[in-house]
């Protein structure tokens, strides 16, 4: 069985630095890897290891304060080089230096998973639970709520992203196993969405969703809203295809695969390519020798340009470990009267810029390109959000911390990433994703 979903609203931002062909995959062994608890909203970390400990791959490093079974595990065997803490002793990351000899795990047993409880415990202990998200709130699933349905996305429509299904499509056995396990956790359906004409064939037991259209077609929130919207009181779990594959592999072999296929892209990358490395690998190992040698300040983004995280040059890959984008920072440019420009190289969705009509590839930097203002133009967010949400009114309700109005306007259906395109196009440069994230956190705190 399969559903077809054709998304009309949206926008594929054309920016420089795409991968020409994803056929060649470059292997990179990281110098260090890190697990960053901030990548897992809703997970309150407690450390289980300390500096200098020897850890093996799959060994728990952190657990959730509210549910001890939910772990974040070591992606490699090696030595704990540091538990880095920030302000108020908040755990920022746990860094591991991989051991030189990667001895394979010896006492691996293939798990017996016949009940939902066993599956849940398995996923939690193996660090796979934390790689799922739940709506509402866009957090690591809380153990209490049973999901109505589970949505798996094997599509990434974000700028410069590669098709995540490509690298795992061949392992049908693991994907089917993963779906089988997920099916045990929900009474509803397990949906798997893929790009129309994707290499991913139908997976047994899953409801396949064929998706056409521009970004944000790949955002799971958009898919949920167009297939079966979330109502108040319902819970949906979401995960990406890579996590599904890891779940399946882990169930079949007892070992969680730790490789990650990362698109290394952006206009400041000399040769955009796909890199196969380890979850949480350090950025230096990945980009060394591949950054453009120009004088420009660079911004390294773990993730895509719309919803990724800015990281330092000595930072680490961040969840979902799929993309690394490097663009010019732009704080070294003096642009004279940019607002009056008729240059063709200015990226814009507004027809007031001639560049809009010549759909070439743009090379935008990270500047806001204007001052922050109150909402002036209307409809800029709805224009790029193919969901039945009145974005601007929802954002205003969030700013006003009006819980009742937030609920009425559908805050349970959204995640920050759904507002990213609107935020990109916004004349007033409002920080919509930050506002929505804060709103979701506020709501959760008030209602729990």
């Amino acid at each position: 069985m399969s559903l077809n979903l054709r998304i009309k609203k949206g926008l594929d931002i054309k920016i420089a630095g795409a991968i020409a062909s994803s056929e060649t995959v470059v292997k990179v062994s990281p110098k260090t890897v890190a697990v960053v608890p901030d990548d897992f909203p809703g997970f309150t970390p407690k450390v289980e290891v300390k500096d200098g400990d020897n850890v093996t791959v799959g060994q728990p490093l952190l657990h959730d304060k509210h549910d001890e079974q939910i772990k974040l595990v070591a992606p490699v065997s090696g030595t704990v080089k540091g538990v880095v803490r920030g302000e108020r002793r908040k755990i920022e990351r746990v860094v591991i230096e991989p051991a030189a000899d990667t001895a394979t795990q010896s006492d691996v047993e293939i798990p017996q998973l016949s009940t939902a409880e066993e599956v849940a415990k398995f996923l939690k202990n193996k660090g796979l639970w934390a790689m799922m998200r739940q709506r509402p709130y866009d957090i690591v699933p809380s153990a209490m709520a049973k999901p109505r349905d589970i949505f798996v996305t094997a599509i990434d429509s974000a700028p410069l992203a590669i098709n995540p299904a490509e690298f795992i499509a061949a392992d049908k056995e693991a994907l089917a196993k993963g779906v089988e396990l997920l099916q045990m956790l929900t009474k509803g359906k397990v949906y798997v969405s893929r790009r129309h004409n994707s290499a991913l064939s139908d997976i047994e037991g899953a409801e396949m969703v064929d998706i056409e259209g521009p970004h944000p077609a790949g955002n799971v929130g958009v898919q949920i809203a167009n297939i079966s919207p979330i109502n108040k009181g319902e819970t949906i779990w979401t995960l990406d295809a890579m996590t599904l594959w890891r779940i399946g592999r882990a169930a079949l072999t007892g070992v969680v695969p730790t490789e990650a296929y990362v698109a290394v892209v952006g206009s400041e990358i000399a040769k955009p390519q796909v890199v196969c490395t380890t979850i949480g690998a350090d950025v230096e190992s990945i980009v060394s020798g591949n950054l453009k040698a120009d004088e420009r300040n660079k911004r390294i983004i773990a993730g895509n340009v719309l919803s990724g995280t800015k990281i330092a040059a000595d930072g680490y890959l961040r969840f979902p470990y799929r993309q690394l984008t490097v663009i010019p920072e732009g704080n070294d440019v003096d642009e004279f009267m940019g607002w009056a420009s008729i240059s063709l190289s200015k990226n814009s969705e507004s027809r007031s810029f001639p560049g809009h009509f010549f759909k070439k590839i743009f090379n935008p930097d990270a500047r806001l390109k204007g001052g922050r203002r109150a909402f002036i133009m209307s409809g800029e967010y709805d224009r790029y959000l193919p969901m039945d949400i009145m974005s601007e009114f929802l954002i205003k309700a969030i700013i006003g911390r009006d819980i009742e109005q937030m609920e009425k306007l559908g805050i349970y259906e959204v995640a920050p990433e759904d507002f990213a395109l609107g935020e990109y196009a916004d004349t007033s440069k409002i920080e919509a994703q930050k506002i929505v994230r804060e709103g979701l956190d506020y709501l959760r705190k008030e209602l729990e």
């Binding site: 911004r299 440019v333 990226n347 500047r367 806001l368 002036i376």
Partner: protein, 403 residues
């Protein structure tokens, strides 16, 4: 450019918190961001931004207003030459006359309005916002050419302070700032804002122009002529020297009226610019004209000498007075208009209907476009509320089905 940048960098420290000129920090910041795109980069959310910003948006509106402004200059000169009995109309003299007529008003609105904006921005420690760039040019365009400067200054100050700043500045106001300025003038100084003395300049300006008006001169606008018409006469619209005017005259705009509002052609050129760039909402412009056409048609079908303006054809109604200008430049102000797409249709349509309704059936007001837009400004949040409610109800129904 580099020299300018260096100069700015040299004086910048004086405006920062320790500097001597810190009191003018916002003003400096305003000029700096005007000259150079700010270097601030994204700190949260998306890492790249669209090149559009509010400066670009506002400047496009100003560009769209230029045809009206230039035509207004010409027409002011033309009306003066016509009223003083000229038979030749030298283009550059007409333009010079019109330029001299409008320049003091432009300077007055910008000095008063921007002055207040600068002070408020400094006081609130905010950036200077661009909204007044448009308002400042709109005000002279919608006022009769003879409006005294001191009145414009007072009205501008009133609306910038009480209509915009006390609500929080650009983006927070409920009513259109330029229109409230016009309304303030209209109700506070009715003698200077309507009647047949104010729409045509009959005196020379700085020695340009003539001083003697011709016999039989009347400065009444077409709509003014209706308002003063006794009901038992047939209506014949005339220009200032008694010649009959046609629909084409009204369309091209060589008739008496507020400075920039007379030429429907120039307004349509402005509309094209706004629609092409996507700055103005086509939904609003379209529905204002639709509403106006429907109401004009109704009035025309049930025409009665009791209300002389009901005799006008649909085309005349849409070309005359401030209707087209209001549709294109006033109703489309995104801050005071409806913000939902469905709301925009309703909002625009009702503006069109009320503008003609007031114009035809309220003989006290020769023109209704200003009042119609202000009225709908007040109702825009209510219309949006209803549209948002329908979204909310859809969600509630979905929930009920599940339960």
């Amino acid at each position: 450019m580099k020299q300018l940048r260096k100069l700015l960098d040299r004086v910048k420290p004086h405006f920062e918190s320790e500097g001597k000129l810190h009191a003018f920090h916002s003003v400096f910041d305003g000029f700096e961001t005007f000259l150079f795109t700010p270097k601030s980069t994204s700190t949260s959310g998306v890492h790249i931004h669209d090149s559009i910003d509010s400066k670009r948006t506002m400047i496009i509106v100003v560009v769209a207003l230029l045809p009206c402004l230039l035509f207004g200059m010409y027409n002011t000169g033309y009306q003066h030459w016509l009223a003083t009995g000229a038979t030749e109309f030298p283009f550059w003299s007409l333009m010079l006359y019109g330029f001299l007529a409008v320049l003091p008003k432009l300077l007055t609105t910008y000095i008063v309005g921007l002055g207040i904006e600068f002070i408020v921005a400094q006081w609130r420690k905010e950036e200077i916002q661009e909204g007044f760039l448009v308002t400042g040019i709109l005000i002279p365009l919608i006022c009769p050419v003879d409006t005294p400067l001191w009145m414009i200054a007072i009205a501008t100050a009133f609306s910038v302070i009480f209509v915009k700043e006390i609500f929080g500045g650009t983006g927070y106001n409920i009513f259109n700032v330029a229109l409230v300025t016009r309304a303030f003038l209209f109700f506070a100084y009715p003698a200077s804002m309507s009647g047949d003395k104010v729409f045509v300049n009959t005196a020379p300006i700085f020695g340009v122009g003539n001083s003697q008006v011709v016999d039989g001169y009347t400065g009444a606008t077409p709509l003014g002529q209706f308002a003063s018409q006794s009901s038992d006469q047939a209506v014949v619209l005339t220009n200032t020297v008694g010649e009959q005017i046609t629909t084409w005259d009204m369309f091209f705009g060589l008739i008496p009226g507020s400075f920039g509002e007379t030429s429907t052609l120039c307004i349509l050129i402005g509309a094209m610019i706004l629609l092409f760039t996507g700055i103005a909402s086509w939904r609003i412009i379209l529905s204002v004209f639709a509403g106006g056409a429907v109401m004009s048609l109704i009035a025309n079908v049930f025409n009665t000498p009791l209300y002389p303006a009901s005799m006008l054809s649909v085309a005349d109604q849409l070309c005359l007075g401030g209707f087209a200008f209001a549709a294109v430049f006033m109703a489309t102000d995104p801050v005071t208009a409806c913000r939902t797409n469905v709301g925009k249709y309703i909002y625009g349509f009702l503006i069109g209907v009320f503008a003609i309704l007031i114009r035809v059936y309220n003989t006290g007001y020769p023109e209704g476009a200003m009042l119609a837009v202000l009225l709908m400004n007040a109702f825009a949040p209510l219309i949006d509320w209803c549209v948002v409610q329908s979204n909310i109800r859809r969600r509630e129904r979905r929930l009920k089905v599940v339960k």
